[in-house]
């Protein structure tokens, strides 16, 4: 409707920008996801087995992060993180450095996702019948072996739907780092649209790219869920 023939040409000219934007969206999302999952796993373990102080700190972390807008957190952590790092460098006697936008985006998004991942993983671990863990302990398994052989495979069926949602959320939330000026798909699109004035064309194209990412991810997570549920009775 709004995409005339000339707009296809524009799109073709700018395809490199859009695709490199899409790739950096995927890179940011993936690294932030891995970082967030590690935080989440540590957080879940801390919440389940830690002492009072650790539990309290983690409770504040998950509650505050989950009740603030992502955009606000990203902007706040972006400034706070770069500022603190620079102050640290100065007190250590180094020069203030320019923070790599990519690394900052990954750390900030990962830190936000860690709070959500903590709750997903804590719930999944708590859903394992306690007898299974006790039995493993009775067999004399070390904590690491217990985690690898029992907790991890037993919690995955409960965790995968939540983790799938988190991945979809992080691919979409990564668009928010456009606001602090890191050039991923959303910002590349805005710039391309701004300089060609073909706003509809470019934003529709970007939406399609995001949609492709989401749909493909859903497929992959569906297959993953089937795999970790192998041997379990089918639901419904």
């Amino acid at each position: 409707m709004f995409i005339a023939a000339s707009n296809w040409e524009l799109l073709w000219q700018w395809k490199g920008n859009l695709l490199s934007g899409a790739i950096s969206t995927l890179q940011i999302s993936f690294l932030a996801y891995v970082f967030g999952l590690s935080l989440g796993l540590a957080g879940a373990m801390g919440k389940l087995t830690g002492g009072k102080v650790l539990k309290g700190i983690l409770e504040v972390y998950t509650t505050v992060i989950r009740s603030l807008p992502e955009l606000l957190l990203i902007v706040m952590l972006f400034y706070l993180g770069t500022d603190m790092l620079n102050r640290l460098m100065l007190t250590l006697g180094y020069e203030a450095m320019r923070i790599n936008g990519f690394a900052a985006a990954v750390v900030v998004l990962g830190f936000v996702m860690g709070a959500y991942a903590t709750e997903v993983l804590r719930g999944a671990i708590q859903a394992i019948p306690i007898g299974q863990i006790e039995a493993a302990k009775a067999y004399g398994m070390s904590p690491f072996l217990l985690f690898r052989r029992i907790i991890l495979p037993a919690m995955l069926p409960y965790a995968i739907p939540g983790l799938s949602n988190l991945w979809l959320n992080i691919t979409k939330d990564s668009a928010l780092v456009a606001v602090v000026g890191y050039s991923e798909l959303a910002l590349q699109t805005k710039q391309a649209a701004g300089s060609t004035k073909a706003y509809f064309t470019f934003f529709v194209a970007a939406a399609l790219l995001y949609l492709i990412i989401s749909m493909t991810s859903l497929r992959i997570f569906g297959a993953l869920e089937n795999y970790v549920r192998r041997g379990q009775p089918k639901l419904g």
Partner: protein, 229 residues
């Protein structure tokens, strides 16, 4: 920490809270009204409506809200002025404002997410209740009005509070299309006073308070609805 700017910017902050709440209430209310038919046609509608509704939900849920908002604001925003005579129409003052596009984008987004939830709610009303209603001689419309919709609404009610909080957390995006709502106000203060942390911290505390109020409000609403467990 320096909060000496606070009294000067208090009116702006209060106006920002007002705009944030306006965006929230408009998008939740109209979005929910849209979500009911979107959920319903996915369960009983003709095939083409079903496809359209589930396609709408997929697109809304599969793309970032920021991109949807920019698509509407920059895309529609650059398209409207080309319509002859629109600048003289009574709608122009509305169509010129970022607020309109933010409200539109948030409404459609809420309709998409809630539409998928309503679909599940309509599906999880026990079939026997609908059959019993039909056996009483109710027309399909009466069944929907008296049995199906009220039952589905009770099923989604516990999730509605969470969805509202998610929606509140989406409203700062409006600041990217020139709406000076709560987050936009903090941005403005930062620009004017060069204080980075204080405005952000203050806004964070206000968002926490709003989240708390919404939680309490929905707990209160839920208690008003009699439920047999």
């Amino acid at each position: 920490m320096d909060f000496s700017w606070f009294p000067k910017y208090l009116p702006m902050i209060i106006e920002g809270i007002g705009l944030t709440l306006a965006l929230l209430v408009i998008s939740i209310f109209i979005g929910f009204l849209l979500a009911v038919p979107i959920g319903l046609v996915q369960v009983t509608g003709p095939r083409w409506l079903k496809w359209m509704a589930s396609g709408f939900c997929t697109v809304i849920r599969g793309t970032p809200l920021l991109v949807q908002l920019w698509l509407l604001y920059y895309g529609l925003g650059s398209f409207f002025p080309q319509i002859p005579g629109i600048r003289d129409s009574f709608m122009w003052p509305v169509l010129r404002e970022g607020f309109f596009y933010a409200a539109l984008a948030f409404t459609l987004s809420f309709a998409g997410y809630e539409g998928a939830i309503m679909k599940g709610a309509f599906l999880s009303v026990p079939k026997g209740e609908l059959e019993a209603a039909r056996a009483f001689g109710m027309s399909p419309w009466t069944v929907l009005r008296r049995i199906w919709l009220p039952r589905a609404f009770r099923i989604v009610l516990p999730t509605l509070g969470g969805e509202t909080i998610l929606q509140l957390k989406a409203t700062p995006l409006a600041a990217t299309v020139t709406v000076i709502e709560l987050y936009g106000a903090s941005y403005q203060i930062r620009q004017d006073t060069y204080r980075v942390y204080e405005p952000l911290l203050m806004v964070a505390v206000i968002y926490l308070a709003l989240t708390y109020c919404i939680t309490r409000l929905f707990n209160f609403i839920e208690r008003q609805v009699p439920q047999r467990r």
